[in-house]
């Protein structure tokens, strides 16, 4: 279906449809494909079985992130299965001619952090990765979404995926953010309003002056969590902030070509009065520092609120799942969460492990020490973030505060390597998922902003950052 007044999503999609035939999903051309060690091996196996080469190796970039240790990365990986997975990625990249930023490489890091920082992620593109948080890249004004391994194989084999066009949703945030409220709070707020499935079937465009005023890194935090309300992805129209971020990055267009591209990128916006299938508006002034109390990211609230009671649930059929979730968390319906003791603080993940996040944490903890009851892990999103943090002396601040600064990877975001939160322990985390066992079997997660996590590191309990800033 082509529309009269097009959204940015429609424009980019239409420009990438290779074939749209009745009864078939669209064959959509993919400009940029990222892969990692966990969701790619079976796809390469498929290519071998079919005796097919990679269609265009220059459009795929690989890194090792999900299943890598975050200490002693110069040593061989101890755990046999993890080592085998990373070695398989090496072999596959070599056999099929794909560029790999392996452990120890200056560009290695979490796949959604390195794409933007290397200038591989650009406006107007279509971008996929076998990872649901591919939505992160949408912050640059492109269509970026996660795919399964069968689709990774499709992209490797044909540089296309077969997709049905999703519906579009506009989320407008206007007004001024209050003190202590950062991008993570905005997105946790939106998800708490729309629920963990509220945007399923949609591709979201974020707009409004509160979004416009955010830095690129903050915009990435917002787009990153689009999937947590079920959306295929989220995007933000590019502007000067975007172009300034891209300028001079390693693989970005340079010189005259860059200037020419910027002229094209300026056209990347939704038409006035473009038709969306759904429009939602929020007032930035209503957003406060947020925290989740349950086992999906939709179960969030203002840090000063109390957990709903069973009777307060909108839908009575949700009661059994709600009770199960609170039981898992060891929390009571109707209880406050402020002051709840935490055992671990995890600052990391593709949501919040960029340099601005680390600076934010450092600004709060500078000259302070962590509480004695907490263990604090800071896991930078990439080698480049790690390097910059050291150059800026953030490592000294973390060290003095008693935080552990580790090496880049997904780490305790998904607990696939040895960085796991022990059973029954509470972790306040800057990551994106509070699912049961996500950070380790029986671990309990509170999702929050880097500021809130830093505050909890100092006080040892869930804290309203507005008391500290």
């Amino acid at each position: 279906m082509t529309r009269q007044r097009k959204t940015l999503f429609d424009k980019i999609w239409d420009a990438h449809v290779v074939k749209s035939s009745e009864g078939h999903p669209d064959a959509v051309y993919i400009d940029r494909h990222f892969i990692h060690e966990v969701t790619s091996p079976q796809a390469f196996d498929g290519l071998r079985k079919r005796n097919v080469k990679v269609f265009n190796p220059s459009r795929t970039t690989a890194t090792a992130d999900h299943n890598v240790p975050t200490i002693d990365q110069h040593l061989p990986i101890k755990e046999a299965l993890s080592r085998h997975q990373v070695e398989t990625l090496r072999k596959n990249c070599k056999d099929f001619g794909v560029e790999l930023y392996d452990l120890g490489h200056p560009y290695q890091g979490i796949v959604h952090i390195i794409g933007p920082e290397l200038g591989l992620t650009l406006p107007g593109m279509t971008i996929v990765c076998g990872d649901s948080h591919t939505s992160t890249h949408g912050a640059f004004g492109n269509i970026a979404f996660g795919i399964g391994t069968s689709e990774v194989e499709q992209v490797l084999a044909t540089q296309c995926v077969l997709q049905y066009r999703p519906k579009t949703m506009l989320i407008d945030i206007s007004g001024t953010l209050s003190k202590g409220v950062v991008a993570k709070d905005i997105i946790l707020y939106i998800i708490s309003k729309l629920s963990a499935s509220g945007a399923t079937g949609y591709f979201v465009e974020y707009a409004g002056d509160a979004i416009r005023n955010l830095s690129m890194e903050a915009r990435m935090t917002i787009c990153n969590m689009s999937i947590e309300m079920g959306a295929r992805g989220g995007l933000i129209a590019p502007d000067e902030t975007t172009f300034n971020y891209i300028k001079g990055r390693k693989f970005a267009p340079q010189g005259d070509t860059f200037d020419r591209m910027v002229e094209q990128w300026r056209q990347l916006k939704s038409d006035p009065d473009a038709e969306y299938d759904e429009v939602v508006r929020f007032d930035a002034g209503d957003i406060a520092p947020m925290i989740t109390y349950g086992t999906n990211p939709g179960m969030g609230m203002k840090v000063t609120d109390r957990i709903p009671t069973l009777n307060e649930l909108k839908d009575i059929t949700e009661q059994p799942s709600f009770s199960k979730s609170l039981e898992y968390m060891g929390l009571q319906p109707g209880a406050a969460i402020l002051g709840q003791a935490v055992d671990y603080v995890f600052i990391g993940s593709c949501t919040n492990a960029r340099i601005e996040d680390l600076r934010l944490v450092a600004s709060m903890v500078k000259g302070k020490k962590k509480a004695s009851n907490v263990e604090v892990w800071v896991v930078p999103g990439s080698k480049q973030v790690e390097k910059q943090a050291r150059e800026e002396g953030l490592d000294k601040i973390f060290e003095a505060a008693g935080f552990q600064l580790r090496q880049p990877g997904c780490s305790a975001c998904l607990g696939m390597n040895e960085d796991k939160i022990p059973a029954g322990k509470y972790c306040i985390s800057t990551s994106n998922r509070n699912f049961e066992g996500r950070q380790g079997p029986k671990s309990r997660t509170f999702l929050a902003s880097p500021l809130s996590a830093a505050a909890a590191a100092i006080t040892g309990k869930v804290t309203d950052v507005r008391e500290l800033v």
Binding site: V18, K19, G23, H24, P25, A27, Y29, V38, T39, P41, Q42, D45, G46, K49, R50, F55, N56, H66, N67, L81, H84, Q85, G130, D131, S132, T134, G146, I147, G148, T149, S150, E151, E153, A157, T158, Q159, C160, L162, Y164, A196, S197, T200, G201, G230, R232, T295, N296, P320, S321, K324, G415, M416, A423, R433, F435, E436, G437, R438, P441, K442
Partner: protein, 195 residues
């Protein structure tokens, strides 16, 4: 590569009346280290199925001998979370061919369809009815007829479900998407040159 064909299925069902079952429950990340597609069934719903000492939890439906069959019936928003196709592989490897729910997460749905696992979306009311029927008689058989796009219960009641015609053809014939895309390679080459 052809997949198993799906036409119609009549079996008992295993009930999991829980909402928002995410992919980390279906297959926890620490079991994603394999580089093949097989063997994930062993760890399907690992942390719900086993105690920390690896003994099975008697009260979990998959461990309850009363329930069996190739149909998994689950609460709404099934498969939310990660894009890991391992979730679909684990369910398939665990012996299921159909998942019935009143709502599915997008990526999971795609992954299931790409792996001969049929996601069947029914209304909230019909889902309730299925849970009630299974609770009343765990041996009750449910028919999922893909050709007719219908779920039929033993008492004769039924509900139609939607499936995309292309995906239906793929499932009924055991085709997969790559075969179709590979047939477009020349067109894709042209597109790439002009792009």
């Amino acid at each position: 590569m052809s997949k198993e064909k799906f036409i119609t299925l009549k079996t008992q069902a295993v009930p999991l009346p829980i909402d928002n079952i995410d992919t980390d429950q279906i297959i926890p990340a620490r079991f994603l280290k394999a580089t093949t597609r097989e063997g994930f069934g062993e760890n399907l719903f690992r942390d719900w199925r086993y105690n920390s000492d690896n003994t099975p939890k008697a009260d979990f439906a998959l461990n309850n001998p009363t329930y069996s069959g190739k149909i998994l019936v689950a609460g709404k928003n099934f498969g939310c979370g990660s894009s890991r196709e391992h979730a679909a592989w684990a369910i398939y490897d665990g012996g299921f061919r159909v998942v019935i729910s009143s709502f599915f997460a997008d990526i999971f749905k795609n992954n299931a369809l790409n792996n001969a696992l049929l996601p069947v979306q029914v209304s909230d009311a019909f889902l309730k009815k299925i849970f009630a029927a299974v609770e009343k008689n765990p041996k009750t058989e449910i028919t999922v007829d893909l050709a007719q796009q219908k779920v039929i219960l033993e008492d004769g009641s039924s509900e139609a479900f939607d499936i995309n015609p292309y995906k239906k053809t793929c499932l009924m014939n055991g085709y997969d998407d790559i075969d179709y895309l590979l047939s477009l390679r020349d067109e894709i080459k042209h597109f790439e040159l002009a792009h």
